[in-house]
Amino acid sequence: MRKVVALIIAFAVVSTTVYVCFFLDRLAPSIELSSAELIYKFSMDNTSNKSNLSENNILLSGAVTTVKKSALIVDKKIFCKFKNGISDVKVGDTIRLLGKFIGYDELFQEYKLNDCSIVNQ
């Protein structure tokens, strides 16, 4: 009986560790970039580099050039869509935000970040 209990506990510990590691690994990485650095990294014709951008969260800093209902345009080139509405942000503000890079929009010639949230300075 003790063996079974020990086995169950061991299994629970191992599975919890694997689960935590898996999710920490997914949550943790973020690359800090300016708008110009993001554009430069994307412009380098290298698939592994591009997937590196989208696999990590991007911590972007730049100046707000347009404010919309649930999105901001940073440095005229980066379209950042927010999870929730935006408050207390105006054109000209310098901000830092965390988002997920999804690619380049050829229609509007903008780089897109999804699920953004503002990070306190």
Binding site: K50, K81, G103, E106, L107, K112
Partner: protein, 184 residues
């Protein structure tokens, strides 16, 4: 020089209305495209992209829609990863587009119009014919809604035999655009 003046006037006369016409565009960056297998499975194959870009030229009814493949979000993050890596191969084919013309489009009238054009996904172009779209004209806004069906095997998507039974053959795609007038 005097010989050229009438010629110049004609050129300017033609180009001014053309420019005005070119300004009659409506656009959005927050369009929504969802795809859904509509099958009652344990883990539904359903995803939504709510950052779809679209531009509509009012005069000719031409429309261009672009969705970044990585913008499709699934409830199940593992399914999203598989979709991007194995099926849509979004690093190689990062976008899906939808370009064509809405026939019998009229800026004065809300009605059902027909879209014909080309849908491109996973590097494959598929002709779409007469897809009904509900076009709703509001104050300086145009709403476009519609749904159509696609066959997964048309898009050169390699499905491993082991999961073939879990991947639906048909997918329902719905599109929802709220376009606003381009201010110049």
């Amino acid at each position: 020089m005097k010989q050229f003046i009438p010629f110049l006037l004609i050129v300017i006369g033609f180009s001014v209305p053309l420019n005005l016409q070119a300004q009659q565009q409506y656009l959005t960056r927050n369009g929504i495209i969802t795809f859904d297998s509509k099958l009652n499975s344990f883990v539904p194959v359903k995803a939504e992209n709510s950052s779809v870009s679209a531009i509509l030229n009012v005069d000719g009814g031409e429309i261009a829609v672009l969705a970044l493949v990585k913008g499709f979000s699934f409830k199940n993050s593992l399914m999203e990863e598989h979709f991007n890596e194995s099926y849509a191969e979004s690093d190689i084919h990062p976008k899906t587009t939808f370009t064509g013309k809405i026939s019998n489009f009229d800026i004065q009238d809300s009605k059902t119009c027909l879209f014909s054009g080309v849908l491109s996904f996973h590097g494959v172009e598929k002709q779409l014919n007469e897809i009904p779209l509900i076009v709703e004209i509001k104050n300086n806004r145009i709403g476009i809604n519609g749904e159509f069906q696609l066959v997964v095997s048309d898009f050169d998507i390699k499905v491993p035999r082991i999961v073939r039974s879990k991947i639906p053959e048909k997918i329902y795609v719905s599109i929802n655009l709220d376009l606003e007038k381009l201010n110049n």
